[in-house]
């Protein structure tokens, strides 16, 4: 049998594990990553220019990561950092899509186009923060928790001295930890869900499950960190408004019901210089959608126990299949890479078990930290929902309420919500939920907001230039690999 060529998109924990497994199964591998360095969000590294002597500060599982990223130096592995997949083209029936790559960073110019035709494609593109809109959310000084953590981990930049972290999910804790480690002052961490909701979601023996996917120690460490830094952690509380003149100066905190309705009279204000919000994560679905992969009811990529997607030759791993943390992502990546390379099932049964446990963990996590349905009540008429196009809540409700404008596309065209430069990555889910609520529909279609056939912006000059077919060992930009 000819050597299989595997393309891996994304060099976070899942993508690196996939590359490592595919190499050990005998495939040639190309790893495509938009950042300069491997690691993804979890192992976000300082830029090489910083020449950090202790790059592992603020990092977990650093040794395993160090080993895994050595896969990129393997003679059968081609490492394409700062490369952007702008399109996937479903060409041959039964084959994975062609991978159309721009050789250069996301905002580069004059980037040559290259096309890969792999035998199998592993998508490990991860997630970005989901942030619900609320009055004042567009003020400077309001960060996504992920961005604040990235600044701390990736630049050692501290977002403020009086920071509130709010939203839902266990990610609030590592963000608080990263921020305090980097020297920020964290006033409070607010989890909007109540203890009852969280406990019910975790069901029985949650710690055992966490231990299975390697998260228990990390969680325990965060809790210890919280205690050490005396950061107050409150549940059933939410930031429902940010205020300030040109910059966030105070936040309005309220106690909320299990559905996140504000308990009248519970509002109080707190002076801050930064606010970090996180309401879970949105998977980066444009590439899976372009490849023709089916999604689950919860809006993640559907995979079988071999991490196979519904589209032929396409595998998915990591958080695009569900949020379960880095160790689960590694297990999924191992399984995906191994099967993408045509490996025999027996060799990865342990990783397969870990991946299955990870999926169970993801389901519990999602149940424990749901998004309350009453959050749109926090909005005012003039609250901006789509920041690119400045579509207000009132405009959206008005458009969605027109009896002849049932089509979500017609609502978007009428309000321009989601049509701006971010292409609905920030507001897509929000707009869908507000539209459905305005019509009192329970099940709004989920897939449409993620349809972005052009997955990343491409300049007209780049598009007009002919593309080169890239072989498995082509190193387009000859960048020096990190060793």
């Amino acid at each position: 049998m000819a050597v299989r060529q595997v393309a891996v998109v994304g060099a976070g924990p899942a993508g690196l594990a996939a590359a490592e497994a595919a190499l050990s199964a005998g495939a040639t591998v190309t790893v495509i990553e938009s950042a300069e360095q491997p690691g993804g969000q979890y192992h976000r590294m300082l830029p090489r220019a910083y020449q950090a002597t202790h790059p592992q500060r603020l990092q977990h599982h650093w040794r395993a990561f160090e080993r895994r990223r050595r896969a990129l130096l393997h003679p059968d592995c081609t490492w394409w950092p700062e490369c952007t997949v702008w399109a996937l083209e479903q060409a041959e029936p039964g084959m994975p899509p062609r991978v159309h790559v721009l050789d250069g960073s996301v905002d580069g110019t004059g980037r040559p186009r290259r096309v890969l035709e792999p035998d199998a494609l592993v998508l490990a593109t991860g997630v970005h923060d989901r942030v619900l809109p609320f009055p004042g959310w567009e003020l400077p000084g309001v960060f996504t928790a992920g961005a604040a953590q990235a600044l701390a981990k990736g630049e050692r930049v501290v977002v403020g001295d009086r920071v509130v972290i709010a939203g839902t999910g266990p990610f609030l804790l590592p963000v608080a930890a990263s921020l305090t480690e980097a020297g920020a002052g964290v006033l409070a961490v607010l989890e909007a869900n109540r203890p009852a909701t969280v406990l019910r979601g975790w069901a029985s023996r949650p710690w055992e499950l966490a231990a299975q996917v390697g998260k228990a120690a990390e969680l325990a460490e965060y809790v210890v960190g919280q205690v050490r830094h005396k950061v107050p952690y409150a549940m059933g509380q939410a930031v429902i408004e940010a205020r300030g003149d040109g910059r966030v100066e105070e936040v309005v905190i309220a106690r909320v019901d299990p559905d996140w309705s504000v308990i009248a009279g519970s509002e109080r204000t707190l002076a801050v210089d930064a606010l970090c919000v996180s309401h879970g994560f949105s998977p980066q679905l444009e590439l899976p959608m372009a490849a023709g992969c089916a999604l689950t009811a919860a809006g993640f990529v559907e995979v079988d126990e071999d991490q196979r997607c519904s589209a032929p030759g396409v595998y998915a791993a990591g958080e695009i299949t569900g949020i379960a943390g880095a160790p689960a992502a590694v297990a999924e990546g191992t399984v995906a890479g191994w099967f993408a390379a045509g490996g025999a099932p027996a060799a990865v049964s342990a990783a397969r078990r870990r991946a299955a446990a990870g999926r169970a963990f993801a389901r519990r996590l999602a149940r424990a930290h749901p998004i309350g349905t009453a959050w749109p009540d926090w909005l005012r008429e003039q609250t901006v929902v789509c920041r690119c196009e400045e579509t207000t809540y009132a405009a959206l409700c008005r458009a969605a309420g027109a009896p002849t404008r049932e089509d979500p596309r017609a609502v978007r065209l009428a309000t321009r919500a989601g049509l701006g430069p971010c292409q609905a990555r920030i507001c897509g889910q929000t707009v869908t939920e507000i539209t459905a609520r305005a019509r009192e529909q329970a099940d709004a279609p989920r897939a449409e907001p993620h349809r972005r056939p052009i997955a990343q912006p491409i300049r007209l000059g780049e598009l007009a230039a002919p593309a080169a077919q890239a072989g498995p060992s082509d190193r387009p930009n000859m960048k020096e690999s990190e060793s």
Binding site: R409, A410, A414, P421, P453, I454, R459
Partner: protein, 402 residues
């Protein structure tokens, strides 16, 4: 005709316009839409209301009728409320057609002269006037003509406004309701069977655009309307750069071509939101909507030939749709001679947005037995290009530049 029950199939712009005309004429109108209003071809184009690409002939006559009607329609919508009119985003920006070769210039000259003789407002621009009108356009232009009649709408907004007007006039809209077949009694169509039950009708109007062929086959009287794929690139919002609808003369030949293979030509215009729309492509690939980078690349090549200054402009999305294509490039409207009770209003290819209001007016006049404003013989259902592939190879419409 009061009490006549009309079922309009399709809530795209043509169906919406027909529903409005027929409901305002007092007929009992039900619109049946498989998916949702304006969710198909209508919302997947640029919103063209063009006279510039039409050579003398019946389609130009329909265009000129539509051009006369649009201001009346907009005024009527305005009477209903400001929101509807605003949603239409009517923009009489005018079109500029340019040739970049000497041969192209000569052909464009002849084409424009013939249009002028047929009543089209068209004005030749010298290089100074062109530079004033489109300062960022390439200077490598051999001829340029300005068409003050060309306009653009936000097509989903226009269709929605027309449909709302139909509802206000008494029409009913049933969405998520797919036509499964026709109910025929005594050789006459007396209703349709749908995924949501039966719907009686004295008249059924097939306005399902590129799906008209399939829908008519389900009803038992197939017509040869096929999908022709097109793609549009959308740039990130930018400062004003393109002020008219600007397109290359080869667009007219591509529109008139009968080839199934890829045709591309440059069509460049901006929208109110600041984005620039870049077209166009034509392919016959059935309903295959998969992304084809080589098609997008071909569009980019042609667009840059007209506007080299856009080379570093980022394309942030693309969309594509299916035009309802007929071999002789003429719309289909009127009764189906094979099945009394069945009517068609379809086959406008890429011109359905602009031609919707004229088509609806003519359909109303035909249904009511009035003399239509223009001769509709060329659009009749009973012609070889419509009634079957066996007859469809003979006639190709004569077009100015084709």
């Amino acid at each position: 005709m009061y009490g006549t029950r009309v079922v309009v199939l399709g809530a795209g712009i043509v169906g919406a316009a027909c529903a409005r005309e027929l409901a305002e004429a007092g007929l009992e109108v039900t619109v049946i839409e498989r998916d949702r209003p304006a969710g198909g071809t209508t919302s997947h184009g640029e919103g063209n209301v063009l006279v510039s690409d039409k050579g003398p002939g019946p389609e130009l006559a329909l265009t000129l009728l539509s051009m006369r009607l649009w201001p009346q329609v907009l005024a009527a919508l305005a009477d209903r409320g400001a929101a509807d009119t605003a949603a239409v985003e009517w923009d009489p920006k005018g079109g500029i057609v340019v040739a970049t070769t000497e041969d192209g210039a000569a052909e464009l000259d002849r084409f424009a002269a013939a249009q002028r003789a047929a009543g089209v407002l068209v004005e030749r621009l010298d290089s100074a006037a062109l530079a004033a009108a489109e300062p960022r356009l390439t200077r490598e232009v051999t001829a340029a003509f300005h068409y003050s009649g060309d306009a653009q709408v936000q097509p989903a907004g226009a269709a929605t406004a027309l449909l709302s007007a139909a509802v206000a006039a008494g029409a009913t809209v049933r969405t998520g309701c797919e036509v499964l077949g026709g109910t025929v009694r005594g050789g006459r169509l007396i209703g349709v069977r749908t995924s949501a039950g039966a719907q009686d009708a004295d008249i059924v109007v097939n306005a399902t655009g590129p799906w008209s062929g399939d829908v008519s086959a389900r009803i038992g009287a197939p017509i040869a309307v096929r999908p022709r794929r097109g793609e549009v690139l959308v740039t990130t919002p930018m400062p004003p750069t393109v002020f008219h609808k600007v397109y290359g003369a080869d667009y007219i030949a591509a529109v008139g071509s009968g080839s199934a293979a890829l045709q591309t030509s440059a069509v460049v215009e901006s929208t109110r939101a600041g984005t620039i729309l870049l077209g166009s492509s034509r392919r016959q690939v059935g309903f295959d909507d998969r992304l084809r980078p080589h098609v997008l690349s071909a569009i980019a090549v042609k667009a840059l030939r007209l506007f080299p200054c856009l080379a570093d402009t980022a394309v942030m999305r693309c969309y594509g749709g299916f035009r309802p294509y007929v071999d002789d490039h003429l719309p289909v409207m009127g009764p189906d001679p094979r099945l009394p009770g069945l009517w068609h209003a379809t086959g406008h290819e890429g011109a359905g947005i602009g031609l919707s209001v004229g088509t609806a007016r003519l359909l109303r006049q035909l249904v009511l037995g009035e003399t239509p404003d223009i001769d509709t013989t060329a659009f009749r259902v009973d012609r070889p290009a419509v009634l079957g592939a066996s007859n469809a190879t003979t006639t190709h419409k004569e077009r100015g530049l084709a």
